[in-house]
């Protein structure tokens, strides 16, 4: 065989295979090394840490015993489950109704609703929680005060410092997940399916209930699971709303383990079951999505005609406005108003108005100013790293360029099931100690953000790649173009828009990331969310609001720019889990 090849006169090189193998090995090696560094090592540290004592680092199972026998640690688990389940149910209800209204009916203002859902998606829930404190704190909340003023009642009806309050706020900012899943599925159902039912004599409520919704049920369930995942991983909102209510959830309990006395290994043990639950749910969600594929089978080229709702259009719009009003209009008004007051408790009244907090954030307070800069730089760096690695991994995996590429894909998706706070614990355990001390440097946050949002970037890249027929690449290969050159000349130019969209979907959450940042920053690497969180603990809500408004202004400016440049596809391009 070797002789045969060697003796071939026309063979350009006798060692083709070896070279190709070497390149594959190198490619695989680099990708694997980066992913191991970003994902495997930090996660492995959680498991390693969980079986080591916090006191003397000896091997032990006592952390698990301690974490899961004491009632003060068990109650938060129950609270988390209640919180996440209820939030997922509420979010799923609104997400489904809105997606149906927007994609299947002639309800007025559909595009505006769609935009508002996206804006809710871009808003971090801890900011919403802060705003809802202004609105619905039991005694001082503006809505309660208005209620008291109008009705003369002793107390207002709302108490945001409660489990119900936290459920409400989290649902407000996670319903876009169900919305995105359900609406992308709904948009694939050709009207023919519904028309067939209509021809058989059904009216729209029955058609919706019997035909439309069952068709998108897997997508709705997938979105619901994602909402659950988000809710159970949420840190900021419970910290702001549930600690005052005397309730811990898993994430705030994890945070406490990191307070003095610091017990990172106990925290790791406490985190492991949560990790298993989220991983299990994710697998379930993936199976649902796979089984739900039939929704798209008949979806090619079908005409989609919205239901004519007649007089029901306006009540439906009313229902759709509830979540958008609660997630956007009220909170942003509250944040803006607070950021412009000297003391928020006195409300936005003359004499209490000032723009000092903006001056403070942008000029006077170097820490806040530095944090804004850090946020932008770190988020940009993280988004770039995540996009490059995701694109690369997705390419290698999807085109099966190297054996074991699917393992890479799996690793790239793995952080999806890791709540930010747990990822941070892993990062801290892995990279706050020799040989590689990233803690204290910008890289700690950048790499953590990149890892955290790698799955988003990955699924974006993957679906973008899937839209490119592999034959376009193979055509170039047969014409003498190497894999690398093909990627540069064919694949990448075709992907450019998707790459920008992917970058943005990693950038936006990085910009507003709190749960991993609270563990990983040091004051010299603080980002906006760190400052917001730190300020909020002493009730400095006015500068918190000013910073929040600035952060969201930056976010929305970027989204607007992207929208202008790339159109609607940029928004919701992460509709796939």
């Amino acid at each position: 065989m070797a002789e045969a090849v060697g003796s071939a006169k026309s063979a350009p090189s006798p060692s083709l295979r070896t070279r190709r193998l070497d390149l594959s090995a190198a490619v695989f090696g680099i990708a694997a090394a980066i992913l191991v560094f970003m994902v495997v090592v930090p996660l492995a540290w959680i498991f390693v840490g969980s079986v080591h004592s916090d006191v003397d680092e000896t091997l032990t199972l006592s952390n698990y015993v301690r974490a899961f026998t004491r009632s003060i640690y068990l109650t938060p688990i129950r609270n988390s489950l209640v919180l996440a389940t209820a939030a997922a149910v509420v979010a799923t209800f609104f997400g489904t109704v809105l997606s149906w209204a927007v994609s299947r009916t002639d309800m007025p203002g559909r595009n505006a609703i769609r935009m508002m859902v996206f804006a809710a998606f871009a808003t971090p829930s801890f900011l919403g929680a802060t705003a809802w404190i202004f609105l619905a704190a039991p005694n001082s909340g503006w809505l309660n005060k208005i209620w008291i003023a109008v009705t003369g009642a002793e107390r207002g009806p709302l108490n945001i410092y409660s489990m119900e309050g936290a459920i409400f706020v989290i649902a407000l900012y996670s319903f876009p997940y169900t919305f995105a899943f359900a609406s992308s599925a709904l948009e694939l159902i050709p009207s023919d399916m519904e028309r067939s039912a209509a021809l058989l004599g059904a009216r729209w409520p029955r058609i919706t209930w019997r035909i439309t919704l069952p068709l998108v049920r897997p997508a709705i369930l997938a979105g619901a699971l994602l909402s659950f995942l988000e809710a159970i991983s949420e840190f900021g909102t419970p910290a702001f709303l549930l600690i005052p209510a005397g309730k811990q959830v898993i994430t705030t309990q994890l945070y406490l383990f990191f307070q003095y006395p610091n017990r990172p290994n106990l925290a790791a043990a406490y985190a492991v079951p949560l990790l298993l639950v989220t991983a299990g749910l994710f697998l379930l969600q993936q199976r649902l999505l796979k089984r739900g594929r039939f929704t798209s089978v008949g979806g090619k080229g079908g005409v989609r005609e919205p239901f004519r709702l007649g007089g029901w259009r306006w009540p439906l719009l009313g229902v759709c406005l509830i979540p958008t009003l609660c997630a956007l209009v009220l909170p942003y008004a509250a944040l803006l108003a607070t950021s412009l007051t000297r003391a928020w408790g006195r409300g936005p009244v003359p004499g209490n108005l000032t723009i000092d907090w903006y001056k403070w954030a942008l000029v006077e307070n170097p820490a806040a100013r530095a944090a804004i800069g850090h946020s932008l730089i770190y988020a940009a760096a993280a988004a770039t790293i995540a996009t490059v690695i995701a694109l690369f991994t997705a390419y290698v995996a999807q085109r099966r360029l190297v054996p074991g590429a699917r393992v890479l894909a799996f690793i790239a998706m793995a952080p999806f099931v890791v709540p930010g706070i747990i990822l941070a614990i892993g990062f801290f355990s892995a990279y706050a100690r020799p040989p590689l001390v990233l803690y204290g440097t910008a890289w700690m946050l950048i790499v953590a953000f990149a890892t955290r949002f790698l799955p988003i970037a990955y699924s974006g890249s993957e679906s973008a790649l899937r839209s490119i027929d592999v034959e376009l690449e193979n055509a170039a290969r047969t014409l003498g173009s190497t894999t690398l050159n093909t990627f540069a000349r064919i694949t990448f130019p075709l992907l450019r828009r998707s790459v920008v969209a992917t970058w943005l979907t990693a950038f936006i959450p990085s910009l507003r990331e709190l749960s991993s940042a609270v563990f990983l920053f040091t004051p010299s690497t603080a980002v906006i969310t760190n400052i917001i969180f730190d300020l909020s603990d002493a009730g400095n809500f006015e500068p918190v609001s000013a910073l929040g408004v600035l952060m969201m202004a930056l976010t929305f400016a970027l989204i607007a720019l992207a929208y202008r440049l790339f159109g609607r596809t940029v928004l919701f391009s992460r509709a796939r889990g």
Partner: protein, 351 residues
């Protein structure tokens, strides 16, 4: 490392020299001149380092900003980077840094005195006698005979309340009255050093029973002791176990809040300050710590409604600290007491 030792040696040598020259006839004036000389040298060294990094939980953000501004006014060319966080949070971050070998902070200022006992036992604090410590009232000098930490701030924990309350609580035990149900705001000992101090003091005075009863009144638990001010000012809650400084500052801004020195003792917190052995800017750290005993520091504190350290600066409340009936926890008691308090707090209040 060697440079640092050298400098310390030189200063020691200077002191020795001064002593030898006229130990008997050492007038305050020459001492002052010598100190000012030291100060100028230190300033020059510190200026080369360019900045000082300071982590504090001592007082409100505004006070820390005032201190920073006063320092920068006195010593142009040296920047002050600071963070203000609750005591347990800054301590936790410092512990993480130490464990990871990250050298970031020069001057560490916590409200939990026990933190310094731990840090000292870990041998991570620099031994240093700040210039001008002699300006302090005697009770605050030499909190550590080994000179690894020094008094950095004093604060009083008091009852704060909304002026709409006609009969504010007079003493801590009044908070147990069921009429305050749903009206009380507290910080969290797991975050705030002040609150930890208060919890230890209360449980030493009245036993843990005090908190079991207090829990029945369903207090709102924030994180920082300063959360109580926000809650009262906004009308969210009526009374709190708060700090005098932030309450008075807020009152001065025209917010609806007032304070009451409880008849069963205000709690005095003496909050230390220390320089880290591995400080990245050791000289700036020393200059900054010495600044704590300069008049400008006390003035900055008084301006932001904190008790000044120096007796030549009047107290913002008008009541000098000596006149206040206070209770003070011993550092050794806090060392065990605060972690215990946090655990028990969890069981009693659920968070």
């Amino acid at each position: 490392m060697s440079r640092k030792t050298q400098r310390i040696d030189r200063r020691a040598f200077l002191r020795l020299g001064a002593g030898a020259l006229g130990a008997a006839a050492l007038s305050p004036r020459t001492l002052l001149a010598a100190e000012s000389d030291d100060e100028q040298k230190l300033y020059a060294e510190a200026k080369k380092e360019g900045k000082v990094v300071w982590w504090t939980s001592h007082y409100q953000l505004s006070a820390a900003e005032a201190v920073r501004d006063a320092f920068k006014a006195k010593y142009p060319g040296i920047d002050v980077e600071f963070i203000r966080q609750t005591a347990q949070v800054v301590f936790q971050r410092l512990s993480q840094n130490l464990k990871a070998g990250v050298k970031e902070v020069d001057v560490f200022a916590s409200t939990d005195e026990s933190h310094y006992l731990k840090l000292k036992s870990q041998n991570v604090l620099a031994r240093y006698t700040p210039l001008g410590e002699s300006n302090l009232p005697k009770v605050y000098r030499d909190v550590d005979p080994d000179k690894t930490y020094h008094t950095g701030a004093i604060a009083l924990l008091i009852i704060n309340y909304h002026p709409s309350v006609s009969a504010p609580p007079q003493k801590w035990t009044d908070l147990l009255d069921p009429k305050w149900q749903g009206q009380i705001t507290l910080g969290h000992p797991g975050f705030s050093g002040f609150v930890g101090n208060w919890v230890v003091a209360m449980s030493d005075k009245y036993g843990w029973d005090y908190f079991t009863k207090l829990a029945k009144n369903k207090p709102k638990i924030g994180r920082s002791i300063f959360d109580t001010v926000t809650d009262i000012v906004s009308g969210e809650r009526k009374v709190g176990a708060g700090a005098e400084n932030a309450s008075l500052e807020s009152k001065a801004k025209g917010n609806p809040i007032d304070i009451k020195f409880p008849s069963d003792d205000s709690i005095l917190c003496v909050s230390p300050v220390a320089i880290l052995k591995d400080a990245p800017h050791p000289n700036a750290g020393r200059l900054f710590e010495s600044f704590f005993y300069a008049k400008e520091y006390s003035e900055a504190l008084a301006k932001t409604f904190n008790y000044p350290l120096r007796s030549d600066v009047p107290a913002p409340s008008g009541i000098p600290i000596e006149k206040v009936k206070y209770y003070r926890n011993k550092a050794e008691r806090l060392d065990k007491g605060i972690p215990e308090a946090i655990e028990k707090w969890r069981e009693t209040f659920g968070v």
